[in-house]
């Protein structure tokens, strides 16, 4: 049962699959780097600053943020569309979710850059 994805030409389903596959890797890396290899399971403030200042880590975390936000909000869109919205309502939902997504990514990038500035 693919519900909304299937009847909308499939672009959202395909990109959801691709972002989902990417997330399996990115969530795995995030969990291992942020929690499993860290003594006590969580980084202290100074450790967080040092961690996020590493260009490779910064790039991976921002990529993770973008992909997870896209995947999450596309999933919410699919659930909302299954409620049986009109075309106008669907367009409005998409617009609102795009704004939420951009704000979320903007916040994450700002927070990371702010922390790098504190290091």
């Amino acid at each position: 049962m693919r519900s909304e994805y299937e009847r909308r030409g499939g672009w959202s389903w395909i990109t959801q699959v691709i972002s989902g596959l990417l997330l399996i890797v990115l969530v795995g890396l995030h969990m291992i780097a942020q929690h499993f290899i860290v003594e006590g399971g969580l980084r202290t403030y100074q450790d967080v600053l040092a961690y996020v200042s590493d260009p490779v880590i910064f790039t991976l975390e921002i990529l993770f943020l973008v992909v997870v936000t896209y995947h999450a909000l596309l999933g919410v869109r699919s659930v909302l569309f299954d409620l049986g919205l009109s075309e106008a309502q669907e367009r409005r939902v998409t617009q609102i979710l795009v704004v939420i997504g951009l704000l979320t990514i903007g916040y994450g990038v700002w927070l990371s850059l702010y922390l790098i500035g504190q290091a």
């Binding site: 519900s3 989902g20 399971g41 997870v68 936000t69 999450a72 999933g75 299954d82 049986g84 927070l111």
Partner: protein, 143 residues
């Protein structure tokens, strides 16, 4: 035009799309016993997915504590290592494993790769998820 009529009108624009009344798809989530394993997977993916969306935004909100400097963050770290939080971490891991592995299963079947193997695939995914959850939980509480 009522919302139902609008919906029915709209559905005509999608050739081959079966006309449904609004809400019927949602009510199906709560009656999975009428269907097979695939529907259980569908329900699991939606429920776990919505839970993970909620967690994502909570997580990002909590990270704002980092702007309060060392005191604000390290106080939270102490709290986050309490048994209750560790238990919530196990719930989170269950959500990630369930949604991630089940999503992988949906991708493999939806793209037509392993349609014939959908039942063993479901069982394999469930076994890996449970093993991963037990290993993760042991790691959380032993750290």
């Amino acid at each position: 035009m009522s919302s139902t009529e609008e919906y029915l009108e709209e559905s005509k624009t999608y050739p081959g799309h079966k006309v449904r009344r609004p809400g019927s798809q949602v009510s199906r989530w709560f009656a999975p016993w009428k269907r097979g394993l695939g529907t259980w997977g569908f329900v699991l993916n939606r429920v776990a997915g919505l839970g993970l969306v909620l967690y994502l935004f909570l997580h990002l909100a909590v990270l704002s504590l980092l702007t309060r400097g060392q005191e604000g963050w390290d106080a939270f770290i102490t709290l986050a290592k309490s048994p209750l939080f560790l238990l919530l971490d196990v719930v989170l891991l269950a959500g990630i494993l369930g949604h991630g592995l089940n999503g992988l299963r949906v991708a493999l079947i939806g793209t037509g790769l392993l349609v014939r193997w959908h039942r063993p695939l479901f069982i394999a995914v469930a076994v890996i998820a449970v093993l991963g959850l037990v290993a993760g939980a042991l790691l959380f509480f032993s750290a």
